[in-house]
């Protein structure tokens, strides 16, 4: 029971930490320490993060890009995820996780504005006209 309470506290603290990181006013994140090139291989071929998050970290759920978490908070999260669907990478060497983080940070951050994509603008226009 004590262990369980401690675990819940840890999860809550992790979530709170994540939340703080997400809610912080756009303070620039420190530069990643890992190797992005190696991280890409891990992301796509070994750890296969793309399965949930998409090959570019933009298309899956949840989206990883733009990354709002600092490196150490990211590491803590992927080792003990707060959500049930996210696999735990507690057994993965720290260097691997830092490389993956570096790769995610290297992915171009900005998606185009919806209105600037004619096809999406067309959908928005049709939706607006519908009611």
């Amino acid at each position: 029971m004590v262990f369980r309470s401690a675990f819940i506290t840890l999860v809550l603290l992790t979530m709170a930490g994540t939340g703080v990181a997400q809610n912080q006013p756009a303070a620039p994140l420190a530069a990643p320490t890992g190797n992005a090139q190696r991280g890409k291989v891990l992301f796509e071929s070994s750890l296969r993060c793309y399965a949930c998050h998409g090959f570019d970290g933009q298309t899956g759920s949840p989206r990883l890009v733009p990354m709002s978490r600092a490196e150490d908070i990211f590491l803590a999260y992927v080792r003990k995820p707060a959500t049930q669907g996210m696999p735990s990478f507690v057994a993965q060497p720290e260097a691997d996780l830092r490389d993956v983080y570096a790769y995610i940070r290297s992915i171009p951050q900005a998606a185009p504005a919806a209105d600037s994509v004619p096809v999406i603008k067309g959908v928005l226009d049709r939706r607006t006209k519908a009611n």
Partner: protein
């Protein structure tokens, strides 16, 4: 399930001799001579071949030997020719029954246990109403009928071979059962099999093989019983809750000769039951008094009338409509102001479930929080016991055993009666608030398509948005489910007609989408609707033969293969399990991904005779490919585009 019968070898009655007196011995003699002729031909060809080492003497099987095992005992010689006035094949009478029911199509994969009926459909029934659809697998045949029934609003006939065909059908029958969709299946049967091949096509109780997931099965032992059982089966299949039915018909009965056919009864389908008046009144009272009611739907929409009735109910109450997930037919317009669950912070105090198979989750949540649930469903009138798709026990506050569609008019009328001017203005205020919240959510949902817009592999929202752009002026219908494209279809495409979306598989088994899409497209063909299916690569590999069926029968349909080269839901599930056990993800792809070598579905389609393009990896190539493929579909042909896509 073709068997060893070769129609070119044994001569039919017209060719076998005027007297029809060719006995079994003569028949085999002729067949053996035919086989010998084949050998002679072989020798002629061999004369030019280099000499070969002599083989040890073995007795080679002859055609006659094979036929002796393949043919049922009483049919092992050619059937005797019939003189005028000597009766007619019983299977002709079966065709009369089938025509009276009114089937447009019969999906088949051939088999000797229904050769009598097959021949009658062709030569007595003129292969018209029903027209035979040649399917390359019985699961595909039944799944086609499943998709067709939802789009056409009536069952398709499926005819399959004894045991083997029925077993191949079983998965698709299960899906139809779980989706509450009618399919009418006839299975052939050798009641007294004699040969090594036919013995396994016989069963003491054929229906037992699928009884856990059909609504009714029967063996028609006489023609009179066939006629009555067929009418009864059809009636049961289309009475809510709908479901598949199976009639077993022995080959011996099909091939018998009858002089006096029994009367064919009239087909009468009962009117579906409406909810008890006092219970409906109570439901209306609860809904009118509710501060924040929510309507949930699943298997609502037997007919297009349900679409209009549900809009009327939602607008009368000004209540949001949650179409639920993959198991729902989702018969409510996706861009309607009331489409959704009310927006952030909307907590329903009364939830109305309409044909929601499993109400246990909202019911338990409501009881824990002092809220109420109402369920109107035909599920209460009939429920299987072996398959647990009904979920956990739902202790709703008010359960009405009735067809929800049939009950909606009286419920709407009662709500109107009980709505005071004060409640009406409260409802209008609620509707305005909900509509505003929904619109913002929906617009943001569309804007989200921008993420990964330029990504390669192609993002799922781009795959769908580009399609929507090109079919915006067509009368289109999505005939596949959306299990593997998330909610992007309903975000990006305006489902403003009941036929825009044909629902998902029902039983969450893979292999439904591709064949069901062909069936759905067939139903839409006569209305000139443009049918599109977005199918997973995993799904297509279960029944690739439907590509040929669509090409052969000229069923216009655009197949878009959402080719993420994996069973991606399973990739994620195994990754999670690896993580739970702390053993690393490095092996999670084994058994889950479909690579090395990659499969080229465009080439596959070409091999089956269908226009195709792909694989497309660059999203910029998508629009042109769609344009060219859609031109083919608009001209009445099927086409396939293979899109290398993001996982989800």
């Amino acid at each position: 399930m073709a068997d060893l019968h070769d129609s070119s070898e044994p001569k039919g009655p017209a060719e076998a001799g005027h007297s029809g007196s060719l006995d079994r011995r003569d028949f085999f003699k002729g067949a053996a001579l035919g086989a010998a002729g084949l050998v002679v031909g072989g020798q002629s060809a061999a004369a030019e071949a280099p000499p070969v080492q002599p083989s040890p003497a073995v007795e080679l099987p002859t055609l006659a030997h094979d036929l002796a095992y393949a043919m049922p005992a009483q049919a092992s010689g050619p059937p005797p020719a019939r003189a005028a006035g000597q009766g007619r094949p019983a299977s002709d009478f079966m065709v009369d029954v089938i025509k009276k029911i009114g089937f447009e199509y019969a999906a088949i994969n051939p088999g000797s246990t229904f050769q009598g009926l097959h021949e009658s459909l062709l030569n007595y029934g003129n292969n018209s109403a029903p027209e035979l659809l040649t399917c390359l697998h019985e699961e595909a045949a039944v799944a086609m009928a499943h998709g067709y029934a939802k789009a056409a609003g009536k069952p398709m006939l499926v005819i399959v071979h004894g045991t083997v065909g029925l077993l191949h059908s079983s998965m698709a029958l299960f899906q139809a059962w779980a989706d509450r969709v009618p399919v009418f299946l006839i299975v052939g049967h050798n009641r007294n099999p004699s040969g090594v091949i036919n013995r396994p096509h016989s069963a003491q109780d054929m229906g037992l093989l699928v009884r856990s997931f059909v609504k009714y099965d029967d063996e028609a032992t006489t023609l009179e019983r066939f006629a009555e059982s067929a009418m009864r089966a059809y009636r049961i299949a289309v009475t809510p809750p709908m479901g598949p039915v199976v009639i077993t018909v022995a080959a011996e009965l099909q091939e018998s000769i009858v002089n006096d056919a029994p009367r064919i009864p009239e087909l009468t389908v009962p009117a579906p039951p409406q909810g008890d008046a006092s219970a409906v009144r109570e439901a209306a009272r609860m809904l009118v008094a509710a501060q924040s009611p929510l309507i949930q739907i699943a298997k609502l929409g037997r007919t297009p009338k349900a679409w209009d009735l549900l809009i009327e109910l939602a607008e009368t109450l000004q209540a949001p409509v949650d179409v639920l997930g993959y198991s729902s037919w989702q018969k409510f317009p996706s861009w309607h102001p009331l489409y959704g669950s009310g927006g952030r912070g909307y907590t329903p105090d009364v939830t109305l479930g309409l044909e929601v198979t499993d109400m246990s989750v909202p019911a338990r949540a409501a009881r824990a929080n002092g809220r109420k649930t109402i369920s109107i469903s035909a599920e209460y009138l009939f429920q299987g016991s072996n398959i647990h798709d009904f979920g956990r026990y739902a202790d709703v506050d008010l359960a009405i055993a009735a067809d929800a569609e049939a009950t909606l008019p009286s419920l709407i009328e009662e709500i109107r009666k009980q709505t005071t001017p004060e409640r009406k203005s409260a409802m209008q205020a609620r509707g305005k608030q909900v509509a505003g919240a929904h619109k913002e959510l929906q617009l943001n949902g569309i804007r989200d398509a921008r993420h990964g817009w330029e990504a390669s592999p192609v993002s799922v929202p781009r795959l769908i948005a580009e399609l929507g752009d090109q079919i915006a002026n067509d009368d289109w219908a999505i005939v596949s489910g959306h299990q593997f494209t998330g909610d992007w279809q309903r975000r990006l495409l305006n489902h403003d007609k009941p036929y825009r979306y044909n629902g998902d598989c029902g039983g969450f088994g893979i292999g439904y989408d591709s064949p069901a899409s062909v069936g759905g497209a067939l139903a839409h063909k006569k209305f000139g609707r443009l049918s599109v299916a977005i199918v997973g690569d995993g799904d297509l590999n279960f029944s690739p033969g439907v590509i040929w069926t669509a090409a052969h029968h000229k069923i216009p349909l655009l197949f878009i293969v959402h080719n993420n080269r994996a069973y991606h839901a399973e990739v994620m599930i195994i990754q999670r399990m690896c993580g739970v056990r702390g053993r690393g993800n490095q092996n999670a792809h084994i058994g889950n991904v479909i690579t090395d070598p990659n499969i080229n579905y465009a080439q596959m389609a070409k091999a089956y005779g269908m226009y195709s393009e792909g694989p497309i990896e660059n999203p910029k190539d998508l629009a042109g490919a769609y344009q060219r493929a859609l031109a083919k579909v608009r001209a009445g042909e099927p086409a396939l585009i293979d899109v290398i896509s993001q996982p989800r």
